[in-house]
């Protein structure tokens, strides 16, 4: 099986090189993230907000799945509530979100289009004795051989780096089992969002590296919801997310004009 997957990933590597224009991956974004690989796991480095977002997004995924009734009752209130659930982390990066999901008992597959960062993820998981299946792949290629394979998909802080969002989401939907859940966190396309996440976060506070976000790729919740519906994904819940720069904590809020998260379920 692993041999097959390895072959598969080798194949996609070549495939990607030859026809990278057919995927939803932007080469420019890949270069941007390559620079980050070194300090990906530095909790208070340039990925600080991503690390602290775990305190919000892991419970969001966990409780979303519990509410959907896919969590076995005997696993509730144990350290592994997500036991036996298969989760695909799209755009997993160094595995900041994949690792806690794995610790909660889920069978996690992480894919990322950046081979350097996948290496970081693999090494870190090995060091922590976590069994996560990291693959260097695009979601389009992955969906071809993993049709309706996953109980859940998480696409956290990735959509704002994708240009062809419809293609991306339909590939996600293809990987998802019927009644499976998709969890997305991303940035709204508002003037306030551009101001805060680009001017304030990148230039003034230098929280995240310069040029990591492009405002034209941000998307409004209603447009995202519409796109999800086109892919048979019905939105269950939308929350706004608020980042407190001083305490480095994320909170859920009703205002989704900057960051927000969506939980949608695939209808059959």
């Amino acid at each position: 099986m692993t041999k097959f997957l390895r072959k598969c990933s080798n194949f996609t590597f070549i495939h990607l090189r030859l026809q990278s224009h057919s995927t939803t991956i932007d080469q420019q974004e890949i270069e941007q993230f390559k620079k980050l690989a070194k300090e990906w796991w530095h909790e208070f480095g340039s990925n600080k907000p991503l690390h602290s977002m775990n305190k919000l997004r892991v419970p969001f995924v966990r409780d979303g799945l519990i509410n959907e009734g896919v969590v076995h009752e005997q696993n509730l209130k144990t350290s592994t509530p997500l036991k036996n659930l298969s989760i695909l982390d799209v755009g997993c990066g160094g595995g900041i979100l994949s690792e806690p999901l794995c610790r909660l008992g889920a069978n996690v597959t992480g894919i990322d289009a950046n081979p350097g960062i996948i290496d970081v993820a693999k090494k870190h998981a090995e060091k922590n004795h976590l069994n996560i299946n990291y693959l260097f792949s695009s979601i389009e290629d992955h969906s071809k051989c993993h049709f309706e394979k996953y109980d859940s998909i998480v696409a956290s802080e990735i959509l704002e780096h994708v240009t062809e969002k419809e293609k991306f989401l339909s590939a996600c939907s293809a990987c998802l089992k019927p009644l499976g859940s998709i969890f997305i966190t991303t940035i709204n396309n508002t003037a306030l969002a551009s101001f805060l996440s680009i001017f304030v976060a990148e230039t003034v506070l230098e929280l995240v590296p310069k040029g990591i976000h492009q405002p034209d790729k941000f998307i409004e919740p209603y447009r995202l919801q519409r796109m999800l519906e086109d892919c048979n994904l019905k939105t269950k819940v939308i929350h706004g997310m608020f980042y407190n720069v001083f305490t480095n904590n994320w909170h859920l809020c009703s205002n989704n004009s900057v960051n927000y998260c969506i939980h949608a379920v695939k209808i059959c």
Partner: protein, 463 residues
């Protein structure tokens, strides 16, 4: 030998699975005998309660926990005589002990309830009475230290993932540096342990705290607490459910109920006087004590007048005014129940570090005048349990600093104001300067009249 060295340098890591669930790492290079998820240093009241609370937590069920205690395992039987070391357990701590089933054991043996707290002042005769707003709800419970320890130790036996090692002396702690995240412990007997999270419950002179290089602010009060078990002069129908405390110029003296016939004494005083008190024959000691509780002290006439007129004013306004406190008379004491211990203040500005957390007296130490020391420790236990539960249930590691930070800020937010209040009270009550005596007398009366303020104070001291 050479092979060994090469092995050591490589730091080979062996990994095996037991029951397919637990991963134990063995670091050959460091000769680690066992790896635990959590090691608790110090098996006192707070340490054992913490071990028990974590051990009974269903979310932490698959975490291996080790409790290290330097003392011997003492099989416990209820002694006929009361022990002279007792604590006042507030309702919050009582709830914690109930949640781990230890309270049953305590109730089955012996516990006294305090329904009223009567505080008065030697130099002005002003007084204040505290009661729980809902009648018959106890303000606190008086329990012997040994009994609490026995109760939680019994419950600790029933946790399958908790291991207890008695007579365990730690030679040194090696806290993780920037790259590592494993804490290592070298024991006196040559054993080596490692863990993901070390919990320092090793008391006032905490070695764990010293290893953390935590910034620790401390001073001695130049005072000692004299304890003893006292026999009360019985009057027919007398119910002993009031805790009495009188502020004397040298420090407060407190009587805590044990039974209708017995009370426990905590008398904070200068080191000089404490030594004298310990050396007095028992009858003379009781005589001195009765003088301290019931005797009159030289008062400034101005203060007396002011207090009296304020009292009259409060009466005229129909406020609850000072009812003259009459403490019970002491008629004797249990032989050889006298002892004394030093009093001090301590505050660690860090409660957490990489892979390490301080709990209880290791992190904070206060004057016993409000009976809050152990309750702050039990509060820490409650909070740390919640934080670790949240961390593990959210897929974080046990030593995830972003979660542990919540413990630190939450507890410091609660502990520091309490410590400052107790410290302020201590300084205020050991002054004999007439204007200050007057102010504190009036303040006491005023607080007594102000019901909402009293309710607030009680609720703060109850959690």
């Amino acid at each position: 030998m050479l092979n060994n060295q090469i092995l050591n340098k490589k730091g080979v890591c062996l990994l095996w699975k037991i029951k397919g669930k637990f991963h134990f790492q063995r670091f050959l290079s460091q000769n680690i005998d066992r790896h635990y998820d959590i090691i608790i240093a110090g098996g006192g009241m707070v340490g054992t309660t913490l071990a028990c609370t974590l051990g009974k937590n269903s979310i932490l069920k698959n975490k291996k926990i080790l409790l290290l205690e330097a003392g011997k395992e003492k099989p416990w039987t209820l002694p006929e005589k009361y022990n002279n070391r007792v604590v006042s357990v507030n309702p919050g701590s009582q709830k914690l002990l109930s949640s781990i089933n230890a309270w049953n054991f305590i109730e089955k043996n012996r516990v006294a309830t305090v329904k009223q707290l009567q505080v008065w002042e030697a130099l002005s005769d002003a007084s204040i009475t505290f009661e729980q707003p809902k009648n018959n709800e106890p303000i606190s419970y008086i329990v012997e230290n040994d009994l609490i320890l026995a109760a939680v130790a019994e419950q600790a036996q029933s946790c399958p993932n908790l291991e207890i090692q008695y007579e365990a002396k730690v030679k040194n702690y090696q806290l993780p540096d920037f790259n590592a995240d494993i804490t290592q412990l070298k024991m006196e007997n040559g054993q080596n342990f490692s863990c993901n999270l070390l919990l320092g419950c090793d008391g006032v002179n905490s070695t764990v705290r010293k290893c953390m290089h935590a910034n620790y602010i401390s001073w001695n009060y130049g005072q000692m607490g004299v304890v003893a078990t006292l026999q009360l002069d019985q009057q027919p129908g007398f119910k002993n459910d009031v805790a009495w405390q009188r502020f004397l110029p040298n420090g407060p003296v407190a009587l805590l109920p044990l039974t209708d016939e017995l009370s426990s004494l905590v008398w904070s005083t200068t080191i000089q006087q404490a030594k004298e008190l310990l050396e007095l024959p028992e009858e003379r000691f009781v005589e001195q004590l009765n003088k301290a509780i019931g005797g009159t002290f030289k008062k400034s006439s101005l203060v007396s007048q002011a207090i009296n007129s304020f009292d009259n004013l409060l009466r005229a306004l129909n406020c609850p005014s000072t009812n003259q406190a009459t403490a019970p008379t002491i008629c004797g004491m249990e032989t050889n129940s006298r002892a004394a211990f030093p009093l001090g203040f301590g505050h660690s500005s860090q409660y957490i570090g990489k892979g390490v957390v301080l709990v209880g007296d290791a992190a904070h130490r206060i004057h016993p005048l409000a009976g809050q020391g152990v309750n702050l420790g039990f509060g820490d236990v409650n909070c740390l349990n919640e934080v670790l539960t949240k961390a593990v249930y959210s897929g974080g590691g046990l030593n995830d600093l972003s979660y542990l930070k919540e413990y630190e800020s939450e507890r410091q937010k609660h502990n520091l104001p309490m410590m400052i209040a107790v410290e302020g009270l201590h300084r205020l009550t050991t002054t004999t300067l007439a204007p200050i005596v007057l102010l504190r007398g009036l303040g006491l009366q005023f607080s007594n009249a102000l019901v909402p303020l009293k309710k607030y104070l009680i609720s703060q001291a109850s959690i």
